[in-house]
Symmetry: C2
Subunit: 342 residues, 2 copies
């Protein structure tokens, strides 16, 4: 991903909310990454403690955290995301140090941000920001999260193109001095499928660090790119219904599911050996999750070889939420990696 960003001449500002690990962050640094994205100020502070000094918090600024913003802004480049003029003005008033700011643009996901047909609001926000003294307007930022619901890679490319053209149109509608604002683009599906990034200045994918079952089933990644699984003890086996029960439930996987053949599925079993996992097992899925229990349904031959006390590997549906629940990593080459402490 870093190489692709570099070949396209765009800034690579990966989202670290998926792994939230200083250890894994250092692997990025070894690959040349210097600036990152985070989803909370707490996480930004965690990475700041390991020397990261250019962090965009891609979440609408929460004024209740002004002390943390000022603390970080006193020593590093912290970027905030804005969409509300009153909030921008209040932030400016309460800031003690300069921050970078990005205006959140809604390119079709309709979660946060201002859309192209709200151009007067965008212009008003830009003016409000320029009217203050502490906020340095750096760019327009979008997260095309609707790409996660795309049913084909063609649709993902369409979402990417349409989102980029909306970002460009918004910038074109601004005054001349603001036409140098950078265009910052997020989301793993687009950044994985698109070959080269034309017309934007920065990408912020996050999930690609591990990928997961959702991305694999959507055709965004292949099995060889799945970089994290959950290892679960088997606690009960029910051969009559081709099921086994795992110590691995909603408190480990979250209740995220994918729909496949009319069923909700919560994870897929993989073949494992001492060196890792090497093959997804066909028709071997978690079919329900409760607080600590996960129910695996699998072909007879698979269930037959399971015994209570064994461990099996499961590709999670959504690696970001799963990592946030498990909060530790066992590394294949030995040792462990940290996760943002609570």
């Amino acid at each position: 991903m870093a190489g692709k960003a570099s070949r396209s001449g765009v800034i690579f500002r990966p989202h670290f909310k998926t792994h939230q690990s200083l250890t894994i962050g250092r692997w990025f640094r070894e690959a040349g990454t210097r600036c990152i994205t985070e989803s909370s100020l707490v996480a930004a502070g965690y990475f700041a403690s390991d020397g990261w000094d250019d962090i965009t918090v891609a979440f609408p600024v929460n004024l209740r955290e002004i002390d943390q913003i000022n603390r970080l802004a006193s020593k590093m480049n912290i970027g905030v995301t804005l969409e509300d003029p009153a909030q921008a003005a209040e932030l400016d008033r309460q800031l003690k140090f300069p921050v970078d700011a990005y205006i959140k643009i809604d390119t079709g996901y309709h979660r946060t941000g201002l859309s192209l047909d709200e151009m007067p609001d965008i212009t008003g926000l830009v003016e409000r920001i320029h009217g203050g003294s502490k906020i340095r307007l750096k760019g327009l930022l979008t997260h095309a999260g609707h790409s996660y619901h795309a049913t084909s890679t063609e649709e993902i490319i369409d979402i990417y193109r349409s989102s980029v053209s909306i970002l460009q149109a918004v910038r074109d509608n601004l005054g001349e001095t603001d036409r140098k604002l950078i265009l910052s683009y997020g989301d793993t599906p687009s950044c994985s499928i698109v070959d080269s990034f034309e017309g934007i200045d920065e990408i912020r994918p996050g999930n690609f660090v591990f990928y997961d079952l959702m991305q694999m089933v959507a055709g965004v990644c292949d099995f060889s790119q799945i970089a994290g699984i959950v290892v679960c003890p088997v606690v009960a086996v029910h051969p009559r219904r081709n099921q086994a029960v795992l110590y691995g439930g909603a408190v480990h996987f979250s209740k995220e599911s994918i729909q496949l053949n009319g069923r909700n599925l919560y994870g897929q079993m993989v073949e494992m050996d001492e060196s890792g996992w090497y093959k997804p097992i066909a028709d071997a899925y978690l079919v329900s999750l409760t607080q600590e229990h996960g129910v695996l349904e699998a072909p007879e031959a698979i269930i037959k070889r399971l015994k209570p006390g064994a461990v099996i590997g499961i590709i999670p549906v959504h690696s970001c939420l799963t990592a946030n629940l498990i909060r530790r990593y066992q590394l294949l080459h030995g040792g462990h990696a940290d996760y943002l402490p609570e």
Copy 2:
């Protein structure tokens, strides 16, 4: 719930997995509770550290945790849940101190346990347990989790009655010395709806300590019994689509939803003042959750009074999972309550 158990002459062994808090556990102790249920050995150890000395772990025993089992069994009454003869034999072999044991009976939920039509397996397991020296068989235990999917309180009562009669039939089919085994019954919907507990010996409800939106919508509790909400900052307001965005996402609520009028809903907004919450707001629901974002959709009049920086209260869909994610409680009468540390 303690009073109802007492009036029915059954043991009250509440499940503490919902709150996982020593502080809240002490409120139970003040109400006379002496024995409890837990879902993991880690949590059992946590409550043991606060003087609880009679804890059933209502989860299929995980032999990988034998050291923790022995540590707890050395100093207190620890109960384990069994359903596999080989596992029971291996547990007996590895135990250094006696434990209580319950055979998990499947009364229709089909998650774990042995069912009435597997009577030979149940008898075989009983014999295997009696053949060892460390496991004291105490009872037959069920969790009628299918009551959570019931669509009426009548259906919940039916599930309760049918589950109890299955437990009794299993016991009746055992040898004479095992007919004194206790019958232990779980699940909040049944224990909330049933007035008196005939024919069983113990109840283990958990969720009732807080209840939640799922239970309220199912008619298991009413609003006045909702004992925990999530307070979320508003970070963006979108009046044109009657939505506001909260700092409150899947990492706070889990992705549990209820279906209402054909939509998936993730929480309901309440009216709050300094002393707490006092009214659910009609048609004001969380309509989507992503990692940190929650999208509230509400009538125009509600959205109009929201501003970034405000906080609002949300009844979670599933309090057990939400408490597990938030991991701290602010108490209405001041101060905080703990949650099982990671």
